[in-house]
Amino acid sequence: MLWTILLLFGLAAAAPLVAKFAKGASGWLLAAGPAAILFAYLAQLPILPGESRSEVWEWVPGLGVELRFVLDGLSATFTLLITGIGALVLVYAGGYMAGKAKLGQLLSYLLLFLGSMLGLVLSDNTIALFVFWELTSISSYLLIGLDHERESVRSAALKALLVTGGGGLLLLGGFVLLGIAAGDLGLKGADAFSISALADLDLSAHGLYPAIMVLVAIGAFTKSAQAPFHFWLPQAMAAPTPVSALLHSATMVKAGIFLLARLHPALGGTDLWTALLVPVGAVTMLGAAITALGQRDKKRILAYSTVSVLGILVTLLGAGTVVAIEAAVVLLVAHAFYKAALFMVAGNVDHGAGTRDVTLLSGLRKAMPFTFAAGAVAALSMAGAPPMFGFVGKELFYGKLVTAEARSTLLILVAVATNVALVAAALLVALRPFVGSSAGVAKNAHEVSAPMLVGPLILAAAGLFVGLFPDVFDATLGSAMATAIAGQRVDMHLALWHGLNPTALGVMGLSAATLVLGAMVYHRTRRLLAPLAEALSRLRAIGPETWYEKGLAGLVTGSDRVTRGIQTGYLRHYVLAVVVAAVVLAAPPLLRSLPGAAPLFPEAPRPHEALLVAVAAASAVAAMVLRSRTAAIAALGATGAVIAMLFLLFSAPDLSITQIMVETLSVILLVLVLSRLPRLVTRSSRSRRIADLAVATLAGGTMALLAIAATTVSLDPEAARFFAAASYTEAQGRNVVNVVLVDFRALDTMGEIFVVAAAGFGIHALLRLAPETGGAA
C-alpha cells in the first residue's frame, strides 16, 4: 500500500514538468496514476466484514512509530473514493485550467493532497495518521491559496490552515495521551499507537479518557467544519472548482468523519462520545442548511450544504447504533458522489455562463445540456429522491431516528428541517440555473469541453447505479465498512423499497413530506433570500469567525505592544532585566542560607586590612560618581591597586604582580582611548539615578550576602593538596600557582592566550574598519 502513496507523491513532484510538455493533455496523463491505484484496490474487492489486510514498515523506531497500513472496509471505501474522484478531478482540472500558467502547480498540489489523504485513511498508526493529517492541511492551504492575487484568498488559505492545523495539534495531544493510556493498559512500543490494537482495550475506564475524547473530537470538528469551527470552509470556496470538489466530496473535510469512524471502536459507545458528537452535529446540520439558502454563489450554497451533511454524519456516528452507522455509511458514499458532481457542475456553469450567482442564472438547459443532465441527477440524490443512493441514505437516517430507543422528537424535527433546506438547496443549484427564460446570461453561454463533462456525468451515473442496485455495494464493501466502524459484525441489507410495515410507512411519510416542503421552500427562495442574508450577516458579526479575526488581530497588536515594552532598545533596560532576574533567582537559596549563617566576623579584622578594604570601596564609589574622566580613571586604578595589595597580604604574590601590571595597562589604555571621547555628562534625571542606585544596592547587597554565605563553608582542600604535593615532585616547579597554570591547567592558559589574541585581532580589525580613516589607523 505504501507504493500507492509514494506513487502519488512522485507524480506530484513530476506534475509541473508534465504540465510544461503535455499541456492540455496533462490532466489525462496524470489521472492515469490515481486511476491505476483505483483499479489496484478494486481488484482487492470484495472485502468481507471483519476482514483487514495490513502492511508494516519501520519508521521511527525510537518512538514506536511505524508505518502500519490497514485495508479494511472503511479504508477501502475511502481509498476508492479518493482515487476515483481524484482521477476525475485531475481530468477536470486539466480542462478547467487549460492554457493557464498555474496548471502545473494545481495538478501538483492536487496529487500531493491525494497522496496525503490516501496515507491518512490507510494509516493504522496514530502518529503516522497525524503526519498525513497535517500534510492534507498544508496541501489544501496551497490549493486554496493558488489564486493568491487577491487578499481575501490569502487570508482564507491561512484561516483554513490555522484552524485545521491547530485542531490537528490538539489531535496530536489526544494521540499522545491515548498512547500513554494504552501503555498503562498493557500495550507496549508501537502497539500503543496502533489503532486496531486500541479497539480491544477498555479505554473509557482510564482516567485520561475524557481528555483524549475532547482533544480528538476537536481535531475532527475543525477538520470536518463542525460548529463553531465551520467558518473556514465556505471561505475556502475562493479556491478553483476542482479544489472545491476535492475538498468537499470525498476528502479533506471527510477526514474528520473518517477519524471519528476509525476511532469509534476504541473510543465510542460512551455517554461522553454521544454527548459531544450529537449536539454539535445537530446544531451544525440545521444551521448550515439554513445558511445555505441565504447564499447567492452556487459554490457557497454547496459549501454550506456540505457542512450540513457533515453535521448529519457526526450526529449519526455520535449515536453509534448499528442502524445509525449503516445510515452514515450510505450517506457518506452518496454525498461523495453527488457533491463532487455538483461542484464540477458549478464550475461548468461558471465557465460556460460567466457567473455563479443563482439570482442571475436561468435558462441554461439548451446551451449546456450535458451539464444540466449531470446536475439534475446529482441534485436528485442530494434531495434524497428515489431511486438515488441519497434516497437510500436518507431513509436509513430517518429510520434510525424513528426507531431509536430514546426517540427524540426534537432531533426528528431538526433532521426534517435540515433535509427540507437541503432539498431546496439542491433545486437552487441544479434546477434554477437551467430552467426559465434563456434571455439573460444564457444567451452567450456555451457547453464546456469534454474533460469537464466526464467527471460530473460519471459521478452522477454512479450515484444512480448504486441507488438502483444498493445490494452490490453492501455485499462488496458496505457491510465491511459498517463492521469496521461499529467494531462488531454488521450485515447490511440495503434496498430502495422496504415493504409495508409501520416503521417503513412512517419513514416514507417523512421522506415525502420533506420533498414537498423542500419544493415549497424553493419556490419562496427569491423572497427569502434578502431577509435571510441580512439575518445571517448580523449573526456573523457575533459568530466564531468574528472571534477568530478579532483574536488574530489582537494577537498581532498585543504581541507588538508587549514586545515594544520589553525589547525597548535601551541598553540600560537590558542590563536592568538581567540584574533583576539574577537577583530574583538567587533569592530563594539565599533566604534559605541566612538562618544558619555563621557570625560575620569570627575574628576581628586587623586595622590595616580594614583600612585597605575601606579605601578600595571608597575609590570604587568615587569611580562611580566622579564627573571628570581622568579622576574617575584614577579612582578605578586605585581600586585595582588596593586589590593587588590585598592579594599580596593574603599569600598571592603572583596575583598581586599580575594585577598591578594589568591595572597599569588598563589605565594607560583608558586614558589613551577616552581622552578622545566626549566628556562625561549626567544625562539621567535625579529620580532615575536614585532608582538605579536602589537596584545597584540590591544587587551588591545580594552578592555580598552570597559571598558571606560562601566563605563560611569550610572546605576540604583535597584538590589543593594534590597540586601542592605534585608541584615539585612531578612538575619540578617550586611555585605551585605557576605549575598549576602551565602544567595542570595548561588548557586554560592556552584558551586565555587565545582570548587575548582574539581581542588583539579584533582591535586591529576595528581600527582597520574605522569609519572615516579607511585604511590602517
Binding site: T568, G569, Y570, L571, R572, E603, P605, E609, V613, A616, A617, A620, A623, M624, R629, A632, L636, I643, F647, F650, S651, D654, L655, Q659, V662, L670, V673, R676, L677, L680, V681, S684, D692, V695, A696, A699, G700, M703, A704, I708, A710, T711, L715, P717, A724, A725, S727, T729, R734, N735, V736, V737, V740, L741, V756, A759, L767, A770, P771, E772
Partner: protein, 115 residues
C-alpha cells in the same frame, strides 16, 4: 576578614551595576572594570584566606609548608584577570569607534532597530 572582603565584593559589584545602568558608554567601561574586580575578589575569597604563606615550595623541601594558601583560586583569578583585560581592551576600542560613528556616547541614541 572574609566577611569584610565579601562586603567589598558587594560594593564593587553594586557600583559596577550602577555604572552599567548609566547612559554614557564611557561609564559602561568603568562598570565592566569594577564588576571584573568584584568577580576576581570573590573567586579569591572562596578559597579561604591565609596570611603570609604563599603556595611556594621552599628550597630543600618537596612540598609547600603546612597551612599554605590554596593555589587553585589563585590560578583561576590569574586566568580571569587576563581574560577580563582582553575584554576591556576590545570594549574600549569598540566604544571609541562606535562613538565616532554615532557622534555621541549616549546609549539612549543607540536604537537604530527601533526607529
Amino acid at each position: 576578614m572574609a566577611g569584610l572582603l565579601a562586603i567589598l565584593v558587594g560594593v564593587l559589584f553594586g557600583a559596577g551595576v550602577y555604572l552599567l545602568l548609566r547612559r554614557s558608554l564611557i561609564r559602561l567601561i568603568f562598570g565592566l572594570a569594577l564588576i571584573s574586580h568584584a568577580v576576581n575578589l570573590l573567586v579569591f575569597t572562596t578559597g579561604g584566606l591565609v596570611r603570609g604563606n604563599p603556595p611556594l615550595v621552599p628550597p630543600e623541601a618537596q612540598v609547600p609548608p603546612a597551612g599554605h594558601a590554596d593555589p587553585i583560586p589563585q590560578a583561576l583569578v590569574l586566568t580571569a584577570i587576563v581574560i577580563g583585560f582582553g575584554l576591556l581592551a576590545f570594549t574600549c576600542v569598540l566604544v571609541k569607534q562606535v562613538v565616532k560613528t554615532l557622534g555621541t556616547d549616549d546609549t539612549d541614541s543607540m536604537r537604530a532597530n527601533e526607529e
